[in-house]
């Protein structure tokens, strides 16, 4: 059965009559609809259309910040979007409904086709039709070799071309006709096999993605130069994981970030765009294991046991030391600042919890602006290049209650100033200072001093495992192989029929038929013909007479049989 036949079989009857009433019949009707080619086509389209909104509307699990932004700007619209799941298109029920329908349709389509194909592969190819001259490619000539020799040669030739043949011995003996026979061959069943493999592989990919996502996880952790982390859930800044993720499966490695280097394009039209990010880490595969030095670059993650460690985004962490009036250190060390633009104008805060007993009895909060290459112009202080060419720290400071004890989680990048008051200078101006590396400034009212010690870089690392990716890749490659077979293998049949003619000659007819597009069937039939003629002993394979000047013994009707050389048959 050809794919077209299958398709015809799979097609539903015209849906002009209402579905039958009994539940079983209705179910059968729905099933037939669902597995029909037309519905598959519609579902493919629907899935494509359904995927569009997810690329237009910001998505929660891709860009939550953009979603938050959108909500603020369009509160009323957002409500509707929430109702429709438009912020989570790819996990929305209606999206799932479409692809599950497609999956069901796919399976419902593949199974019966596989069974049919299996049977077709084992069945003998259909015997030669009575009138070969009606086939799209047809040759007819006479040779001196005997009919059986010609048939044997044809069999050998077709077999060597990997045609499946009908059973040996199906020699037609039509009474009242001279002895003869025919052989039928079929090639290219790989096309249907490939098609089935392709569709099956699509199912494999979809299932592997779905199951894999249950076990996978993705976490981020921000690591300043000179510090490190051990791979465990409590160390992560953020974690998203599948339902069946088990924290005990995390590989127990640890990392120390020795150096994170970043370079940017220094001239030309792409001035300031990233040129090179490279992290040098000391890596310990598990507690007690020897330490190794590794580098992580963009596109070159560190792989640990199926878990990948990637560079996400970098930044600077200025180091600030805060002392009280006596010179006692209240806080020190680098604090990560968040870049606000492509030149790494970065903002951040240093929270100094002091407590009622120490110092002035009040917390101190410092708000800072770190500029790797600082300029101050009419647009205020800003950075003009992401590498530290003229690093400067602009600060202002607050005193009061940081609110760290009230149990509310706080951002480490923002100061909650509701319980605080900004420092003022003697003339009542808000306290501000611009510091170069190594400079110190005194806080007003005898609160102590702030020193800008320097800076390090930090990098946000992503730690994640894409569970099941091997299966996804395997499925995708299988799909590709199937697709290539399905698109390029041509399904074709060839027949050779011989009949002893009066005298010593044997009339040979060769015909070909092709069910799929492309290729050159004419050339193939010619090659088959030349091939089996050359297999005939000595001279007997020479064509003694060309073309079908008159209808053959079996072609009772005077078919119009093409040009003189038999290149084209009429249809």
């Amino acid at each position: 059965m050809t794919t077209r036949d299958v398709e015809a079989a799979a097609r539903t009857p015209e849906p002009d009559r209402p579905p039958a009433l009994s539940a079983r019949e209705t179910a059968a009707w729905v099933w037939r609809q669902l597995t029909s080619m037309r519905v598959a086509l519609i579902l493919l389209f629907m899935l494509a259309v359904a995927a569009i909104p997810g690329s237009v509307v910001p998505q929660n699990d891709i860009n939550p910040l953009a979603v938050g932004d959108f909500r603020v700007r369009n509160p009323a619209l957002s409500e509707w979007y929430d109702r429709l799941g438009l912020f989570d298109v790819y996990s929305a029920p209606w999206f799932a409904a479409i692809y599950i329908a497609l999956l069901v349709s796919l399976v419902g389509c593949i199974l019966p086709r596989s069974i049919q194909h299996w049977r077709a592969m084992r069945a003998a190819p259909p015997p030669a039709p009575r009138r070969l001259s009606r086939m799209p490619v047809y040759r007819r000539f006479e040779v001196t070799a005997g009919p059986d020799d010609v048939l044997d040669a044809a069999r050998a030739e077709l077999r060597s071309r990997r045609y499946r043949l009908d059973r040996v011995g199906s020699v037609e003996q039509i009474p009242a006709h001279p002895p003869g026979g025919s052989v039928a061959g079929e090639a290219g069943q790989l096309r249907e096999t490939g098609n089935l493999v392709f569709h099956l592989a699509v199912v494999v990919v979809l299932v592997a993605v779905a199951v894999g996502s249950l076990f996978g996880y993705r976490a981020t952790v921000l690591v300043p130069e000179g510090s490190g982390f051990a791979n465990s859930v409590i160390q992560y800044d953020g974690l998203s994981s599948g339902a069946l993720f088990d924290a005990r499966d995390l590989p127990p490695f640890s990392l120390e970030l020795d150096e994170f280097e970043m370079q940017f394009v220094e001239s030309g039209p792409q001035l300031g765009t990233p040129d090179r990010f490279e992290a040098t880490v000391r890596f310990t595969a598990e507690p007690g294991a020897p330490e190794q030095t590794r580098t992580i670059r963009v596109n070159e993650p560190l792989e640990v046991d199926g878990t990948l460690v990637h560079i996400l985004n970098p930044g600077y962490a200025p180091a600030i030391t805060v002392r009280d009036a006596d010179g006692t250190v209240l806080a020190e060390g680098p604090v990560p600042f968040l870049p606000q633009d492509n030149s790494f104008t970065s903002t951040g805060v240093r929270k100094v919890p002091v407590g009622p007993e120490a110092g002035m009895g009040e917390d101190i909060g410092i708000q800072g602006l770190f500029l790797p290459t600082a300029v101050v112009d009419d647009r205020g202080p800003r950075s003009i290049f992401p590498e530290p060419r003229n690093p400067a720290l602009f600060i202002t400071a607050f005193h009061g209650d940081l609110g760290l004890d009230d149990g509310q989680p706080q951002s480490v990048y923002r100061l909650d100033t509701s319980g605080m008051e900004q420092f003022r200078t003697d003339d009542g101006e808000a306290f501000r200072a611009a510091l170069a590396v190594g400079e110190t400034v005194q806080l007003p009212e005898g609160f102590g001093s702030v020193r800008f010690d320097g800076y390090v870089t930090w990098v946000n690392l992503q730690i994640g495992r894409n569970a099941g990716k091997e299966f996804v890749l395997g499925g995708a490659l299988m799909a590709l192989a199937g697709l290539l077979a399905s698109l390029y293998v041509r399904r074709r049949r060839a027949w050779v029929r011989v009949a002893a003619n009066v005298g010593t000659a044997t009339v040979v007819e060769v015909a070909g038929l092709q069910r799929s597009e492309g290729g050159d069937l004419e050339a193939e039939v010619d090659a088959i013909t030349a091939g089996f003629l050359s297999r005939l002993p000595a001279d007997t394979g020479r064509v003694v007479r060309h073309g079908p000047p008159r209808p053959g013994p079996r072609d009772g009707t005077a078919d119009r049989v093409g040009d003189m050389d038999g290149r084209r048959s009429a249809r």
Binding site: A51, G54, V56, I62, T273, H310, L521
Partner: protein, 336 residues
């Protein structure tokens, strides 16, 4: 010569190619015009010669019987040659073809110079992608132009190529420069390279599909004059579009989807993340899968399938222009 100078040279050479494409386009337009005129004359004269015969209005197309067969390998579709010799049309076609060869060579040189100026494959930003895709489309067209069905697409393919190039050297132009680190990978070579290749082929296929629709409608009406009569049989165009898509579809499967996923994992740590570009690559893939299905579904062959092919091409354009310009995803390397 330094990178900037090479880049400038490349731009000059591409501009030269644009000029050549315009000349080729005018020649192909003239060819079409001559053919239409000849056909009108032929139709008029035969109509008067066999006035009253029921076949008269179709005379311009006699001989077209074998075209609807199964093996459409016949490079010359079965149009009857018009009674009036169309020497001028042939000459114009010849000029158009030669100038297109010249333009393609120039464009090829421009693309190579660009590659030299940036020391990497020339598809790192929208400008480079556009000129390379235009080159692919142009070469694909030249390969097809040996058949009459391919030649029918000439006016339109050349038009699209020169519009793309004109946009490229004006709006999309970026002087040579290094790539952001994320793009510096051999995956760029194969992933984007495959996308460029598929893009060029889809473009030619879309032109052929559009012509298929026009031809099929004209055949339905039995038109004897007008642009459509200069086209090959709709079934020939249908097969040509199918073959182009049958080549481009696996390329799209490999490049944007499979290799894209592998690279995404290396670069971002996940092989699929519903980034707008990824979503649109998938939408394109689904749309062309729908096209392949449509062609195999009874009642969808011919112009309905061609409509699907055009819609699918719309998604290609969008995943290329739309996503780079409209959205700000991880893939925003377009350089705009």
């Amino acid at each position: 010569m330094d990178a900037a100078a090479l880049g400038e040279w490349s731009r000059f050479v591409v501009a030269g190619a644009i000029a050549a494409y315009i000349v080729a386009w005018l020649a192909f337009c003239a060819e079409t015009a001559y053919r239409l005129r000849d056909r009108r004359v032929a139709a008029a004269s035969t109509a008067s010669a066999v006035a009253g015969a029921p076949t008269a209005p179709r005379l311009a197309r006699v001989g077209g019987t074998a075209a609807d067969g199964d093996n459409g390998d016949d490079p010359v579709p079965p149009h009857a040659e018009p009674v009036v010799a169309d020497d001028q049309a042939e000459r114009m076609a010849g000029i158009g073809y030669s100038v297109t060869v010249l333009a393609t060579l120039l464009l090829g040189a421009g693309v190579v110079l660009r590659a030299l100026s940036v020391s990497r494959p020339p598809w790192g930003n929208m400008y480079e992608f556009s000129i390379t895709a235009a080159l692919v489309a142009s070469i694909a067209f030249l390969a097809l132009a040996r058949t009459k069905a391919g030649r029918a697409a000439a006016v339109w393919v050349v038009l699209i190529v020169f519009v793309t190039l004109s946009l490229a050297v004006t709006v999309l132009y970026l002087p040579p420069g290094p790539l952001v680190p994320a793009l510096r990978s051999y995956w760029l070579v194969v992933h984007v390279g495959a996308a460029v290749l598929a893009f060029g082929l889809f473009t030619v296929a879309a032109v052929v599909s559009a012509l298929q629709i026009v031809a099929e409608r004209a055949e339905g009406k039995g038109a004897t004059s007008g642009f459509a009569t200069s086209l090959p049989a709709s079934s020939t165009l249908d097969r040509l579009a199918y073959r182009l898509i049958a080549i481009a579809f696996p390329v799209w499967t490999v490049g944007p989807l499979i290799l894209g996923a592998i690279w995404a994992e290396a670069s971002w740590g996940r092989y699929w993340g519903w980034d707008p570009k990824e979503v649109w690559a998938l939408i394109t893939w689904l749309a062309y899968a729908a096209f392949l299905h449509a062609r195999a579904t009874a009642g969808w062959k011919g112009s309905k399938a061609s409509v699907v092919s055009l819609i699918a091409y719309g998604t290609v354009l969008f995943s290329y222009f739309g996503v780079n310009i409209v959205f700000n995803g991880l893939h925003s390397y377009g350089g705009l």
